[in-house]
Symmetry: C2
Subunit: 343 residues, 2 copies
Amino acid sequence: MNLKQLSEKLGLSQTTVSRALNGYPEVNEETRRRVVEAARQHDYRPNARAKGLATGRAMAIGHVIPISAKFEIVNPIFADFIAGAGESYSKAGYDMLISVVRNDDEERVYRDMKSKGNVDGVIVHSPRLNDSRIGHLHEIGLPFLVHGRSSGCDIGYSWIDVNNRRAFERAARFLLDLGHRRIALLNGPEMMDFAIRRRAGFENALREAGIEPDPALMHSAEMTEGFGHRAAAEALALPEPPTAFLVASILIAIGVRRAIEESRLTMGRDISVVTYDDDLSYLRNGDDIPIFTAVRSSVREAGRLAAEMLISAIADPSLPHLDRLLEAELTVGQSTGPVPVRS
Amino acid sequence: MNLKQLSEKLGLSQTTVSRALNGYPEVNEETRRRVVEAARQHDYRPNARAKGLATGRAMAIGHVIPISAKFEIVNPIFADFIAGAGESYSKAGYDMLISVVRNDDEERVYRDMKSKGNVDGVIVHSPRLNDSRIGHLHEIGLPFLVHGRSSGCDIGYSWIDVNNRRAFERAARFLLDLGHRRIALLNGPEMMDFAIRRRAGFENALREAGIEPDPALMHSAEMTEGFGHRAAAEALALPEPPTAFLVASILIAIGVRRAIEESRLTMGRDISVVTYDDDLSYLRNGDDIPIFTAVRSSVREAGRLAAEMLISAIADPSLPHLDRLLEAELTVGQSTGPVPVRS
DNA sequence: GACGATTCTCAAAGCGCTTTGGCAGATCGA
DNA sequence: TCGATCTGCCAAAGCGCTTTGAGAATCGTC
């Protein structure tokens, strides 16, 4: 059923039917009622491509999700971010287009999307330090919003981010307040902007407490359980092991716990762990009592907001750049305790 | 830069330029070379909507990913499945459209996709027992492929699935061979087809060994770490606790391990654990030596294959239904051992 | 009752592409 | 040399929608 058929059935012109359906004022309310009813009855829905062609709007947002070329890892936070964004899109009548892409191919994909015209804007994921994609998107004139920020990038752009620096500052201070002095940092890949900020927050808190960060206690890698386990096992085998770990994701924390238990130590008593928690739906930090002490911010909520912001930016291009800084909240769980007395 | 402008620049008609670019034979090779070169130089790419409108093909595949309405959980395997499918799509020049949807809304979404015409086909995720979506898609005539199967559904359809029944049969037999007699099953939600098959395989192996499955040892829920922990803690507190767990995902297994360790037992010695492993990129079962004994099948590979199959089904609708049954492979890790002698 | 204002509806153009049908000019066989 | 066949190109229609510009019909007003 297309517009032509529907209008013939109603004995009206395509124009009138189209206007009636799209809420234009110059159509009799009685006529509109008839049209809307007929459309509902025949399950008519305008063809998205034709509509897009006529209006010049794709009613779709693109997400380019990078795959770490070396490790072939898909960051698990995408599932939840996408779920959040998807909610906002379906409310606003937008579709979501996803391209999974090797890191180096991203700019080509943006260019393609622009010239193929199948999206009205894109969300940029996992921004790196001084990320070239931002300038690139500016250049080709495709509206976009960054999930995260890119330090060193001096062009204005819209973004939504968590205050990663403050989150890690608070987490580190919490451990320092418990008396910990040797704190290991298991960070995400430090070409990523969020990881840089987290490290800065961590180091800052240490220095404020008069402690010089020890490079031997700071590691950075893809945020997997395996990394957490390996790095923690190594750290615990040091002559002077850390008494606490500050880690960048629950998956890392799970690996750390495994290493702690393999060392016949008890988490929360012998060794403290604080983690960053994206509040992933399938990886909740305990059902009732949190397992890990954590700084938490829901990545799903971030997805919801990101989509809303981008949509409104597209709706009114004259708007200034939008940004939003979310604060992570600290919740105390069972994984932290005062520094144990030396035996 | 659109076709008209490009053809004017070249002093050719739109027809010729279009044919040259699309590889039609009735154009001089020399002319084609010129056209292709000019297109490359001006970074010309045909507008996707216009092309779709003209050809009637959207060059896009839809994925409807359901959110469990009760728990708001996004199944983490989607990230990897999508990554795999995305690879095949970009090779074939297809886009991927994703809708995140509350369970009950799915059929409306399929209907929308069909009438809006923004996809050429869809992948159906998480099929349930006797899933109504299959009949529905048949009815509206939208090509589709099911990731999994739907027992009780008597219509023919294309699918790709793991041999879940055999996987759990083998896993259970492995435990039985080690002497385990009380084996707990922590299964996925049993309205899901895969969970039903897994349970059948499990029960089958037990019965073959002359053991009647004990309902008190079989649990079914969303596959989270929390579920694994809770269910395992409860089971271990039974007067006659199980000596082994067979679980449906690594996340559950991680929860089980936590419960085991909280009970001051050692996994692999006191209690054995076998898990199903989707080979998720961010949740590898150990880097070198597998942590858990597991039956494994890569969901990413399944995504790749699913996309390929659907694309070829769309390319040639006269093809009979395609299907593909993948076998999971058993890898022995550190989480299993012979049943301990009663103290 | 005539006139302008208002309300409702329509025909047609246009979005950017593919594809049909056809037309010159070159090539070939007899 | 002439008609038949190919080759290489083109004009125009059509995909399904929105939107412009305009025309009928209705209304209120003097």
